[in-house]
């Protein structure tokens, strides 16, 4: 398997606060990785850097052979549109766009819109009958499924999910996790931040953070190194 993500000695400082203090790891294509750790341990910062939302202070973050830290503003924009699918804890759907339009928005930023494809993506996440609903009219789980559809629509190399089930009840959590299982089976590479051990256990591997460092490298990672 090819290495999709390679992180080398990654550091990120916010003023005096050190969010990431030299982190290194690799992710192979098709892997499902759970990033775990207490609040403030640097998980979200890592996701933001890998997704091109934030820049590292030093070190390398290579995604699909692109060093994210070296991209300029427009390069980052293109990178986000083409390589990354984001799923946020807060869903972050545009409130005045319908479910369908939220999905199409990602298409629009990637290349051009294709309404049929967007509908199919929503059908895939089980929302074929709710395409014209505004996010406010959808339940939390449904909103997160729209976000998943949106994240997948451009066939990203890497799906970054930041606590995707953090705002969901158990039933909805189950549905969304089921979706992640399917994605994994289809060969998508998933990096998922979570602090629920029950969800973490579903992943191929777990990377645990504390105070901006990896505290425990799971056996599988050791072997691959």
């Amino acid at each position: 398997m090819a290495t999709l993500v390679q992180v080398e000695n990654l550091r990120k400082e916010f003023g005096n606060v050190c969010a990431l203090a030299g982190v290194s790891f690799r992710v192979e294509a098709g892997e499902w990785i759970a990033i775990m750790g207490p609040s403030g341990s640097g998980k979200t910062t890592l996701i933001n850097i890998l997704g091109g939302l934030d820049m590292p202070t030093s070190g390398q973050a290579i995604v699909d052979a692109i060093d994210v830290g070296r991209l300029d503003e427009s390069g980052l924009t293109r990178f986000r549109a083409q390589k990354i699918g984001f799923i946020f804890q807060q869903f972050h759907l545009v409130p005045y766009l319908t479910a369908l339009e939220n999905v199409m928005l990602a298409q629009y930023f990637h290349s051009s819109t294709d309404e049929k494809e967007a509908r199919e993506a929503l059908e895939r996440v089980g929302l074929g009958d709710r395409v014209e609903h505004l996010p406010g009219k959808l339940s939390g789980g449904e909103q997160q499924r729209v976000a998943v559809a949106r994240a997948l629509i451009n066939h990203p190399k890497l799906i970054l999910a930041d606590e995707p089930t953090g705002n969901l009840d158990e039933a909805n959590e189950e549905t969304v996790i089921q979706l992640f299982h399917e994605l994994h089976r289809e060969g998508h590479t998933i990096l998922m931040v979570t602090h629920a051990p029950s969800i973490g256990r579903l992943a191929d591997r777990r990377i645990a953070f504390a105070h901006g460092r990896l505290v425990e490298v799971p056996a599988s990672l050791k072997t691959s190194l």
Binding site: L53, T77, F86, N154
Partner: protein, 378 residues
């Protein structure tokens, strides 16, 4: 998708847009009304100043001999008035010939002015008249009499005035009593032809008075053209009127103009602040779209289009309302509607779009903001 997004932006967040639209419409309304007023104020005021009466006099030249009360030198009536008519200037509000002679009403000498009675109300709008300017019966010789003459000679409306001049007499009916607060209170006004007949000076006049609308510059230009057409006579603006009028007009214009500029600036600022606030509300959306891979140029264009459309719509509605407002203001202030300037329309809309876009400029600054920062809610 661009238009779909734009449409959704405008429709989807209508609640929040209400304040912005309110600001835009009322701003555009005030701006277009004040611009209309500002463009029209000079015309309106110069019209008001015609209350001062004649501001241009045509008289025989300075070489005339000074000879007491008798009209010293005379002009040819038809020559002078042909020249005025040939200029065909709409700024001429009124023009009247005058021929003064001192007649006797019984034993009392009285100054009689032969003129066109029908021009007097336009020439001297400030005069108060009791009775009428023009006669009600065709077959009388009408006269308008100054109030002092009426008092001295114990006359009343409708009474007959017997005037004699060098053996010739005329019988005139008093149709109006004038209160001018000046020399005219001591004079009698009659038809020019009758006075010419009495004086034995057919076709001759002593001077002509004109009321010309416009700024001091317009009036002196008009005087110069008239002088060129009448080289043998002297054409001069009445300085008391033109000078004071010019000065006052300038001051009032400056006053209104500076107030209008102040309010325009304030209104523009108000719209600017509202649009800036609206733009700042889009921070979250901008951040999200950036995270989804939207380029800054694309996102900013989208939101700029939003405020641009808002500005144009607000400007359009506001300009219509503003023109109504200026109509009302004209009615309220000057008693006549202000004439509409259609250039106000594009001007107001352009101004509103420009102000709205300027207000949305802070969005460009968001281009430098990392989306992650916006998500953290900072």
């Amino acid at each position: 998708m661009f238009w779909r997004l734009l449409w959704k932006l405008l429709r989807g967040s209508s609640g929040r847009l209400v304040v912005a639209i309110l600001a835009l419409v009322s701003g555009a309304m005030v701006i277009s009304a004040l611009l209309n007023l500002e463009f029209d104020i000079e015309r309106k005021l110069t019209q008001e100043f015609r209350m001062l009466g004649a501001n241009l006099v045509i008289s025989p030249g300075h070489d005339a001999q000074i000879n007491g009360a008798a009209p010293a030198a005379l002009m040819n009536e038809s020559e002078a008035f042909a020249a005025i008519q040939s200029l065909k200037d709409p700024a001429v509000v009124a023009a009247a010939p005058f021929l003064y002679i001192v007649e006797r009403a019984g034993d009392t000498p009285v100054v009689v002015a032969g003129t066109k009675l029908e021009e007097l109300p336009e020439l001297e709008p400030a005069w108060r008249i009791e009775g009428q300017w023009t006669p009600s019966h065709e077959n009388q010789i009408p006269c308008i009499v100054g109030r002092n003459v009426v008092r001295q000679l114990h006359l009343a409306l409708g009474s007959t005035l017997l005037l004699s001049y060098l053996g010739k007499t005329t019988q005139a009916t008093l149709v109006g009593i004038v209160d001018a607060g000046g020399a005219e209170d001591n004079q009698v006004f009659m038809g020019l032809a009758e006075v010419q007949r009495l004086a034995g000076l057919p076709g001759q006049i002593g001077l002509a008075q004109l009321s010309v609308r416009g700024t001091a510059k317009n009036i002196s230009e008009f005087a110069a053209r008239l002088a060129a057409a009448l080289p043998s006579y002297e054409v001069r603006p009445i300085r008391q009127v033109t000078e004071a009028e010019g000065d006052l007009l300038n001051r009032i214009r400056l006053l209104i103009g500076s107030m209008v500029v102040l309010i325009l600036a304030l209104t523009a600022l108000c719209v600017l602040a509202t649009m800036a606030a609206l733009a700042m509300e889009r921070r979250q959306d901008v951040g999200l779209m950036k995270a989804l891979g939207g380029s800054i140029a694309r996102i900013v264009t989208l939101f700029m289009a939003e405020v641009g459309v808002l500005g144009a719509a607000g400007g359009f509605v506001g300009a219509i309302l503003g023109i109504e407002l200026s109509r009302w203001m004209g009615q309220r202030v000057f008693g006549t509607a202000i004439s509409l300037r259609w250039e106000i329309f594009p001007l107001t809309i352009a101004l509103m779009v420009a102000v709205a876009l300027a207000g949305a400029l802070p969005l460009r600054l968001l281009g430098k903001v990392k989306p992650a920062v916006i998500f953290r809610g900072e």
